[in-house]
């Protein structure tokens, strides 16, 4: 009998010298080296992935992780919507929409009585809703043409606190205070615009229903995101580089839904999803010091691509070796809307368009002056993982 497949083995000292890169999960260890020695064993072309305990002296310590949670960070508090929550039930929202369309209170009452009876009465109301978006006198789909729908005037968050970053360095009337850092002037207009809708309400410990729903929908199928830190000694304060990229495999979970640690992921060589930032670790908190744009392929349920400008990252290594923190920046809000529009969010979806449009605070259109981006912050958590770097991806194809 013959050995038919590739083998992973310990590399020789010569191979160590030839190694190209380093990967190692987030556990505190000396540097592990991974080489890409291709071996030929009997019948099959092989590949080697090699780990050694000691790396060349000049090598940096590298820790890698797989993102184990990612969603908008909306943290509400009691009384943060003085006008009340935007209607969360279909009937209540329907009545509001009818009013925004110009129907009087008594007309709305009559229409809703018909709605309650069902049959023709409900059909009549549904027809009004379906035709409420009008372009050139013709009805159009209100979900795909929200601009053609009258603004229902969804209520905004008016609290003082939100988790995020002071992106513009200013502390204006729209600025929040971050409960963890105490930083003022935090820009999170996405929270301000959406935080009075029940789907988006959450806290630091309890994510919003929308965020949780999207994450659960995607985690077992969407290619995972990888986070790799590199520095001289990641246990101490100092300069680091942070690389965030996409994997070829989806996140692997345990029986109870928790993320599985120490799985191996291959980095996706697609340049659209590769991001690298300089950063610093200070008092155990990692932040990035260059605020370039960030881009990574995402999903139609959330946004086809997560694009951020003026990117900020603040993340801490937890005692169990995982990472937890925030990623933020200015995000194109229209892309978000079109994810919301087909996601079954309860409430007035075209109203979300108008809310984000009004709250948008960056990237003005040169001609109209309308801001095209909105400040936002996302919760990001990660657990230790092995990462096969992009420049080794080909070596992992044994066929």
């Amino acid at each position: 009998m013959k050995r038919a497949t590739s083998i992973i083995r310990v590399q020789t000292p010569e191979e160590v010298l030839m190694q190209k890169t380093i990967i190692e999960p987030g556990a505190r260890q000396s540097v592990a080296a991974v080489s890409a020695t291709r071996l030929v064993k009997s019948l099959g072309l092989g590949v080697s992935l090699v780990m050694v305990g000691v790396a060349p002296a000049a090598a940096l310590e590298t820790r890698s992780y797989v993102v184990s949670y990612f969603a908008q960070q909306f943290s509400n508090e009691d009384g943060d919507c003085p006008g009340g929550i935007n209607p969360e039930d279909e009937r209540g929202q329907t009545a509001v929409i009818l009013r925004t369309l110009g129907y009087s209170a008594s007309q709305v009452a009559t229409l809703m009585a018909g709605w309650d009876k069902g049959g023709e009465g409900k059909s009549k109301v549904n027809d009004i809703l379906a035709r409420r978006a009008v372009i050139d006198g013709q009805p159009v789909n209100p979900m795909t043409h929200p601009e053609a729908v009258p603004d229902p005037g969804l209520k905004f968050v008016s609290s003082k606190h939100a988790f995020g970053f002071n992106l513009d360095g200013k502390d204006g009337p729209d600025g929040f205070i971050d409960p963890h850092t105490g930083e003022a002037g935090v820009d999170h207009q996405l929270f301000r615009a959406l935080g009075c809708n029940q789907n988006f309400r959450g806290s630091w410990t309890s994510p919003s229903a929308y965020g949780e729903w999207v994450w659960v929908q995607l985690r077992d199928s969407q290619p995972a995101w990888l986070l790799t830190l590199k520095g001289e000694d990641l246990s101490k304060d100092g300069a680091v580089t942070v690389r965030i990229e996409r994997a070829l495999e989806h996140l692997r979970s345990n029986l109870n839904g928790t993320p599985r640690r120490h799985m191996t992921y291959r980095a996706d060589p697609d340049p659209r999803s590769i991001n690298e930032f300089r950063g610093v670790i200070k008092d155990g908190v990692l932040t990035i010091t260059e605020h370039k744009p960030f881009s990574i392929l995402w999903n139609g349920l959330s946004a086809p691509v997560l694009n951020l400008k003026n990117t900020h990252l603040r993340i801490r290594v937890e005692p169990d070796g995982s990472l937890d923190g925030l990623l933020g920046g200015y995000q194109p809000w229209r892309e978000l809307y079109f994810a919301f529009s087909h996601n079954g969010i309860v409430g007035d979806r075209p109203g979300l368009w108008h809310a984000m449009k009004k709250a948008a605070d960056a990237d003005p259109d040169p001609q109209t002056g309308q801001n095209l981006s909105i400040s936002a912050s996302y919760r990001i958590s990660a657990v230790p993982a092995f990462v096969v770097p992009v420049d080794h991806a080909d070596t992992f194809s044994a066929r």
Partner: protein, 575 residues
């Protein structure tokens, strides 16, 4: 139609219980069963053949035979009664188990399902049936006989007697007439054949041994079965049956030819896998579960992968590379899936599209890595741990009993385990500390001394086999000792085990018991010693000792028959 279907089934059951039993009675006249024999001696001085016992085929053997006879696509559609482990092996326990009424129902359900797939399913029967009946709606004795004779030879591991074949064909005739369906009738008989004790039990038949005056040996068909179940864990194939039928198997050269052929066949891997699955008690994996709150990463997938990892490692080392058996305790080379690699905390990438099936990848731990050998495999560390924690005692006991063939007495009935089991004990944070405190009880200390020092070296692996270096924040001390040999970590334990003389001796003892299907008797001691010597001279090569055993005349010798015991045992087996 449903009524018509029920009637033949009912008749068939009666037929199994009467007609086949009657047929069995004839065959059983020459069956040697459960009788201690003292006749004769083999080529090894002082050798006394052990009891030749009826043995129920194991669940694995059932599956393999059906696959061999009808292809891998056949769905058995039933469950097996649990097998019984005696003296460390299910193959030894197989001669001590019968079939309960519930078990017979399961066999009958599986027989019906298999027969339907083989005969009634049109696509299958076009491949599997050697003939077409003159009419699909009427009996065809010639076609039925052609199929049943061929199937019967494979399933009964010998040609059917004329009376047996006539009875099966008659049953087809009756059922096909009642149902107006030849294939339904054929299905009935095939199902009956699959419910027959001659299929479900290995029934050794002995005959006078012309080479040993007054001695007995297995007849050619039983010899073929013993050889095939040993090397392939399955029934003899047609070539082996031919060799049995034409007398070749009873010649030294003919036997050698068959053994060479069988050991060169890829099916030898199935035999080696079956032996080690039995020896390493992998059947217990079926019921292995872990506390999901403590070990959320441990699922059925990991259970299956863990067995497969070890079996692949053993096959690769012992068969593919014909390596030294003792090296299974020190080898750094193994095979992993990405999921299993995560438990070991080593990188193994999935090779394929997102969501694709994980594949096995050869993997070698670094030379200075503490992980080495099968004792550090999840299949050992997790299998020999309670549901919520590790247990150096359980692991040490398993090492002594499974790998070294030593017996460890059970704990005293009044022993207090609370101290050992409290993994949250703030005073004794590691297992070693808890065991040391526990071992201050004199009645416990004696046994723990022969188990714990070995098991503590495996504390780098938690109760689910996941690699760790700390327990409750305290670095784990993995130093230990085995029969006077000190070591520092799991790799050191593997080295000490490898060099322990009990290891190769135990392997040969287990292999012999597995091959014979009974606990080695005192009359076999000299024979086993000779096998052990041969194993040592071969450099501890497993194929060498398997071949030596398969070619030994002693392997096929038997105690004298007892017709009285035979009929009693066959009846008992069916009750």
């Amino acid at each position: 139609m449903q009524t018509a279907m029920k009637s033949p089934k009912t008749r068939r059951f009666r037929w199994i219980a009467t007609g086949v039993l009657a047929t069995l009675g004839v065959a059983a006249a020459g069956v040697a069963l459960n009788v201690a024999g003292v006749f004769g001696s083999g080529s090894v001085k002082g050798y006394t053949p052990p009891e030749a016992s009826i043995a129920r085929i194991t669940a694995d053997q059932y599956r393999t035979i059906i696959t061999d006879a009808f292809g891998p696509a056949i769905d058995l559609g039933g469950r097996f009664e649990p097998d019984l482990r005696i003296d460390g092996l299910l193959s030894v326990g197989a001669s001590s188990v019968s079939v309960t009424a519930a078990g017979m129902e399961q066999y009958d359900t599986m027989a019906d399902a298999i027969a339907e797939q083989v005969v009634v399913n049109m696509a299958n029967r076009q491949v599997m049936l050697p003939c077409e009946p003159a009419s699909a709606n009427a009996p065809d004795d010639a076609c039925a006989a052609e199929f049943l004779a061929a199937a019967g030879e494979l399933l009964h591991r010998r040609p059917l007697s004329k009376d047996e074949l006539d009875a099966y064909v008659a049953a087809v005739r009756h059922a096909a007439t009642a149902l107006d369906d030849f294939y339904a009738g054929l299905s009935m008989s095939l199902s009956a054949m699959l419910s027959s004790p001659h299929f479900l039990f290995r029934v050794p038949v002995v005959e006078p041994d012309p080479d040993r005056k007054g001695g007995y040996r297995l007849d050619a068909w039983s010899k073929a079965s013993r050889l095939s179940f040993f090397l392939w864990n399955s029934a003899p194939d047609r070539r082996l049956l031919e060799a049995a039928g034409n007398g070749e198997l009873h010649t030294r050269r003919g036997l050698a030819r068959q053994v060479e052929r069988m050991m060169a066949s890829p099916r030898i891997e199935g035999g080696v896998r079956a032996f080690f699955s039995d020896m390493l008690q992998f059947d217990k994996m079926e019921s292995l579960s872990k506390d999901g709150t403590i070990f959320p990463q441990f699922s059925r997938r990991e259970v299956q992968d863990a067995q497969e990892q070890t079996l692949r490692t053993l096959v690769d080392l012992l068969l593919t590379r014909e390596g030294d058996y003792r090296d299974i305790f020190t080898t750094k080379e193994t095979f992993l899936t990405p999921s299993l690699a995560a438990i070991y905390r080593v990188p193994v990438a999935h090779d394929g599209p997102n969501g694709g099936v994980e594949e096995w990848v050869p993997f070698e731990f670094p030379a200075d890595d503490p992980r080495a050998g099968v004792l550090t495999h999840v299949s050992f560390t997790a299998l020999h741990s309670p549901a919520g924690r590790s247990s150096p005692t359980d692991r040490g006991k398993a090492l002594r009993e499974i790998m070294m063939c030593q017996n460890v007495p059970p704990p005293p009935p009044d022993v207090e385990f609370n101290l050992v089991q409290d993994t949250d004990d703030p005073t004794h944070k590691t297992v070693r500390e808890r065991l040391l405190a526990h071992a201050t009880v004199p009645s416990c200390a004696g046994c723990h001394k022969i188990m714990d020092p070995m098991g503590l070296a495996l504390e780098n692996f938690d109760g689910a086999g996941e690699y760790r270096v700390n327990e409750n924040g305290v670095p784990i001390d993995t130093t230990g000792e085995l029969d006077g040999v000190q070591f520092a970590n799991p790799a050191g334990l593997g080295e000490a085990v490898r060099n322990n003389p009990a290891i190769p001796q135990c392997l040969v003892q287990r292999l012999t018991a597995y091959a014979f299907g009974n606990t080695p008797s005192s009359g076999q001691k000299a024979f086993i010693r000779e096998l052990q010597n041969h194993f040592e001279r071969s450099g501890y090569r497993l194929p060498a000792v398997m071949k030596k055993l398969a070619l030994s005349p002693e392997f096929y010798q038997a105690a004298p028959p007892s017709a009285h015991a035979a009929s009693a045992t066959v009846t008992a087996a069916l009750n």
